[in-house]
């Protein structure tokens, strides 16, 4: 009986670990996209001012 519990726990860990990592990666990507957007706006603004 407890053997199954450990099996379940083991799979939870693997799932949790992998999805946690993928989530972390996706979040970082997302934050980065936001920074890129800010930069793009900044550049547009600068071009506008200079040109």
């Amino acid at each position: 009986m407890s053997s199954e519990l450990f099996l379940i726990a083991g799979y939870m860990v693997i799932w949790g670990g992998i999805f946690g990592y993928v989530f972390y990666a996706a979040r970082q990507q997302h934050l980065l996209a936001a920074r890129v957007q800010v930069l793009e706006e900044l550049i547009k603004e600068m071009e506008h001012r200079n040109g």
């Binding site: 407890s2 053997s3 199954e4 450990f6 099996l7 726990a9 083991g10 799979y11 860990v13 693997i14 670990g17 992998i18 990592y21 993928v22 990666a25 996706a26 970082q28 990507q29 997302h30 980065l32 996209a33 920074r35 890129v36 930069l39 900044l42």
Partner: protein, 227 residues
């Protein structure tokens, strides 16, 4: 567009996992001696394979960085060490959870587990080193050196791990359990799934980190010019 690619990675990974989980729980027979807990073995070993692939990639990209001095290889190196560390952690935890019901102890100084633990230490120190250097090129050199030395250490770690207190010698044979053909198929499916997952993760992380690096440099330049 960035988010779409992310979603694609998730979908592909989820699909593959579905197949792998089906084979593990439904297709593969239950092992007679150890009972259902043996099923943890498929993903345990697959995680170990992914970790090894990652550390090997970090080793190769470390060498390439030192030769080419192209930050691209540094980024691939970080991405692989990061993935390797995540999967080594999974190997360690699943190893503990596997050992508890079967050998009635949380931790055994089995050579494989001990090796994984020492590797975990080596590659965790990689990130400590990384966080203590500011300049990109210096940091890349230091990390490349650590990745190379760490990987060269692996065989010696494994050799010496036999010297640790092994309470349960039976574990040493864990990898070569006589397996039913269905079990072999299941193992191959999960190994394949994890390898594919590894490739996707590495690709995705490399892209993100490259972009992060570029954004950071660009922001720094902008700061310089605005001031």
């Amino acid at each position: 567009m960035l988010i779409k690619k992310d979603q694609m990675v998730l979908i592909v990974a989820a699909l593959l996992f579905g197949v792998a989980i089906y084979t593990v729980f439904v297709y593969a027979p239950t092992e007679l001696v150890m009972g259902p807990i043996q099923k943890i073995f498929y993903f345990h070993l697959s995680s170990a394979l992914v970790a090894f692939l990652s550390f090997f990639t970090a080793f190769v990209s470390g060498i390439l960085y030192l030769i080419r001095k192209d930050l691209k290889w540094d980024v691939i190196g970080v991405a692989s060490v990061e993935i390797g560390l995540v999967f080594t952690t999974l190997v360690l935890i699943t190893g503990v959870l596997w050992g508890r019901p079967v050998w009635n102890t949380w931790w055994t100084w089995d050579p494989r587990l001990t090796t994984s633990l020492i590797l975990w230490f080596i590659y965790a120190s990689y990130f400590i080193l990384r966080s203590s250097v500011e300049r990109q090129d210096t940091r890349a050199v230091f990390c490349a050196v650590l990745a190379i030395v760490g990987f060269v250490d692996v065989p010696i770690v494994f050799l010496s791990a036999r010297l640790w207190r092994t309470i349960h010698p039976v574990v040493i044979r864990a990898g070569s359990i006589d397996m039913a053909p269905e079990m072999v198929t299941t193992l191959l499916v999960s190994l394949g799934t994890f390898t594919l997952l590894w490739a996707l993760l590495l690709y995705q992380r490399t892209r993100t980190l490259t972009l992060a690096c570029r954004v950071q440099n660009f922001e720094r330049q902008l700061d310089g010019e605005v001031l």
